[in-house]
């Protein structure tokens, strides 16, 4: 009995060992090095010097664009994650209904998520181009507009376009996560609720949402991390222009490191971003878990 108990006790860890080793070597170790670098002097040529305490962090937070970049990052994550969750949920509800061509619709839905972000951003860049953009061409041909519209007249609008592309590519992921949750709900629950006179909103609130909460939690946490770290959309569409007004933290630290060659503050920013992510994802998961516990 004892030997079986010991075997059971160690077996899961044994199975986990290869993954843990890979994560340790390829993920944890490099991140620890970035932490070390953030406290080291790094020359513009890329040579790593000695320990300099928090100097890189102080320099990073005193950079003029820091506030704008942090605010942009906040709105970028909030709008992309928030709206793609809402839209993804609605689309998942639709996709869960029985209708002709449902399989094709589901296949099409996955395209934006499966395509490279650089390609997506480049395509959207062409779509909204003033001179040769396909959006203007289509609207002109349909007679909706008389002359081409400049869809990028100011930087807030450019930033909104970037968020829009972010939402477009993120929605399918949420939709599929929620769809998997929806498909696991027992149909008899809805039948019983209907018998009791529950309407659409009541069923949504009392059955659907609680049942898909685990799927939503996973998609939201993953999206917070993905979207926060997303680089290609902003870099391809504006490179943070004008004057870092559309930069997020990730694109800004790239520009700082490889264009301005301020590698120390760039590494410090990357650590700050990592800590913010830890905090956000941790708070979200604990809150959701606590709710589930109380229910």
């Amino acid at each position: 009995m004892n030997s079986i108990h010991v075997k059971h006790k160690w077996e899961p860890y044994l199975w986990l060992l290869p993954s843990l080793l890979l994560i340790a070597i390829f993920v944890v170790f490099p991140i620890l090095i970035v932490f070390k670098l953030s406290f080291s002097e790094i020359t513009p040529g890329g040579v790593i010097g000695g320990f300099i305490g928090f100097q890189n962090f102080v320099e990073a937070v005193h950079l003029p664009p820091f506030k704008t970049v942090m605010l942009n990052t906040f709105w970028w994550v909030l709008s992309v994650v928030g709206l793609s969750t809402l839209l993804g949920f609605i689309i998942a509800m639709v996709m869960n209904q029985k209708f002709r061509g449902r399989k094709i619709a589901r296949a099409i839905l996955v395209f934006p998520w499966a395509t490279s972000l650089v390609i997506q951003a480049s395509i959207w860049n062409y779509i909204i181009k003033y001179e040769y953009g396909s959006l203007n061409s289509v609207l002109l041909n349909l007679g909706v507009i008389n002359q081409a519209i400049n869809w990028r007249t100011s930087y807030p609008i450019e930033f909104i376009w970037e968020c829009g592309v972010g939402i477009f590519v993120t929605v399918p992921f949420v939709a599929f996560c929620v769809l998997s949750g929806l498909q696991s709900i027992d149909g008899s629950l809805y039948e019983a609720a209907t018998m009791d006179g529950a309407g659409f909103w009541s069923k949504l609130w009392n059955i659907t949402l609680p049942m898909v909460r685990p799927s939503l939690t996973v998609s939201t946490v993953l999206n917070i991390i993905y979207v926060f770290n997303s680089f290609p959309i902003v870099y391809t569409m504006t490179k943070g222009a004008p004057a870092h007004k559309t930069d997020t933290m990730i694109t800004y630290l790239y520009m700082l490191s490889f264009y301005e060659r301020k590698k120390g503050p760039a590494t410090a920013l990357s650590v700050i971003g990592f800590l913010i992510l830890c905090l956000c994802a941790g708070i979200y998961m604990v809150t959701v878990m606590r709710k589930e516990e109380t229910q």
Binding site: V47, Y130, E131, Y132, P242, A243, R261, A281
Partner: protein, 435 residues
């Protein structure tokens, strides 16, 4: 327990996904021996990084773009005992690749890139005289060599250059009855006349204030107003009244509606596309424009002129050059042999038989005298461009703060586009780089 589990789970996910989204380099210090050429018997291996100038670069160096063979194969056949580990890297990635290799104590032996000054203070580069054969050294245009000097030492050699000038669509200007502008006042008049005539169908003037070309934009207008990046003594002089006036003039052209609508995001290539499509009447760009337009299938009747300057000021063409530099390798078993191999590489590269094909392939201008005759013979227009190149001013890339200035002036321009104060921006930049 569940809370702890939640935190741990979140942490693992963040670790995993942060690595996926990570764009910052994660260098590790590696032993110096890694940098040693992999000697196999008497063979010496040179690590070479070349930037991708266009679709033909890779073919020429590694494919079959060199009359059915490639640079590496031909070099190795003619230089037994030297092996090239040559990599063609895109301009978008090259800084990241080089930085990561330096941080790993494994820089390439030979690097082709635009800037070099950031590597000199760390003692990473070798002086050119240590490896460059004297006859080749004397073949470089002296004005080009002078742009790679820090503390009286030459640290890099030019691999090619391009010159900027005003290109205009002859037919568009002729139809509107507009003369080619030579001064800023004439430029504004010409733009207004084109705007009136074409009513927004054609942009009179192209302007690129993107992160890639903002420094060129600064140079066009500052040099045309008696200003510039540095003063006569070579010290940073960014916030001079001439420079402030120049940036305000450039931004004024945008605000008056004379230019393409989004100069902060429309790159030189976007402008060249507009020009090739007959949507843009005038732009300041490189001598490669005719090749670019032809490649795009455009058929534009174009001509060139000097870059307009302010009244009473003398304009200057803008020259841009890239470089080849050599990194030190203290672990190389035989330094003399390594230097000799590098010298052979350079001699082979700049041999007119090879170099002329390389330079003309993407429409660039040469950096050595020995290539001029053959290039002019193959395309007479090169002669005029070589004259322009002779009177060009270059960016002060030898100054250690150049990377900061390059981005800084671009930020000032972009800020001005959205209502920011030019003087304030240039004052702050000057204070940052000059103390």
């Amino acid at each position: 327990m569940k809370k702890l589990l939640a935190f741990l789970l979140a942490l693992v996910m963040i670790f995993a996904l942060a690595a996926c989204g990570q764009t910052e380099e994660k260098p590790a210090e590696a032993p110096a021996e890694e940098n040693a050429p992999e000697a196999a018997g008497d063979e010496i291996v040179l690590d070479v990084i070349i930037c991708q100038y266009g679709p033909n670069t890779n073919e020429w160096f590694l494919g079959s773009g060199m009359n059915g063979t490639n640079f590496v194969a031909k070099f190795e056949a003619e230089n037994p005992g030297i092996k090239l580990n040559l990599e063609v890297v895109s301009w978008n990635d090259v800084h990241q690749v080089v930085d990561t290799r330096i941080a790993n104590n494994n820089p390439p032996d030979i690097l082709n890139i635009d800037t070099f000054s950031e590597f000199v203070p760390d003692g990473l580069l070798m002086p050119v005289k240590d490896y460059c054969p004297e006859d080749l050294y004397n073949d470089f245009f002296p004005a080009f060599i002078a742009e790679s000097v820090i503390d009286d030492t030459v640290w890099a050699v030019p691999d090619l250059a391009s010159a900027r000038a005003l290109f205009y669509n002859v037919d568009l200007l002729k139809e509107a009855g507009v003369e080619v502008p030579t001064t800023w006042a004439e430029l504004e008049d010409a733009c207004q006349a084109l705007l009136d005539y074409y009513g927004g169908e054609v942009y009179p003037w192209g302007i690129d204030m993107t992160t890639d070309e903002g420094q060129a934009c600064f140079a066009y207008y500052a040099w045309g107003n008696g200003g510039g990046f540095v003063d006569a003594g070579g010290n940073w002089a960014l916030n001079t009244p001439e420079n402030i006036e120049a940036v305000e003039f450039a931004v004024g052209l945008v605000q008056k509606g004379y230019t393409n609508p989004n100069p902060a995001t429309e790159t030189r290539y976007d402008l060249q596309d507009m020009f090739a499509a007959g949507k843009l009447a005038m732009l300041l760009t490189t001598n490669q424009l005719p090749t670019y337009v032809a490649d795009k299938g455009g058929n534009i009747n174009m001509a060139t002129a000097a870059i307009p300057a302010n009244e009473g000021k003398t304009g200057s063409s803008v020259g841009v050059m890239d470089r080849i530099m050599v990194f030190k390798d203290d672990a190389a078993p035989d330094q003399a042999k390594r230097n000799e191999a590098i010298g052979k590489f350079l001699k082979f590269f700049y041999d007119p038989e090879n170099y002329v094909g390389w330079v003309s392939m993407e429409g660039f201008l040469p950096a050595v005298n020995s290539a001029v005759e053959a290039l002019v013979a193959s395309d007479p227009s090169f002669g005029a461009w070589l004259d322009v190149l002779g009177s060009c001013q270059f960016y002060p890339a030898a100054k250690a703060e150049w990377a900061t200035v390059r981005q800084g002036v671009t930020t000032v321009e972009q800020n001005a586009l959205i209502g920011g104060d030019v003087k304030e921006g240039l004052d702050a930049l000057q204070a940052e780089v000059a103390g």
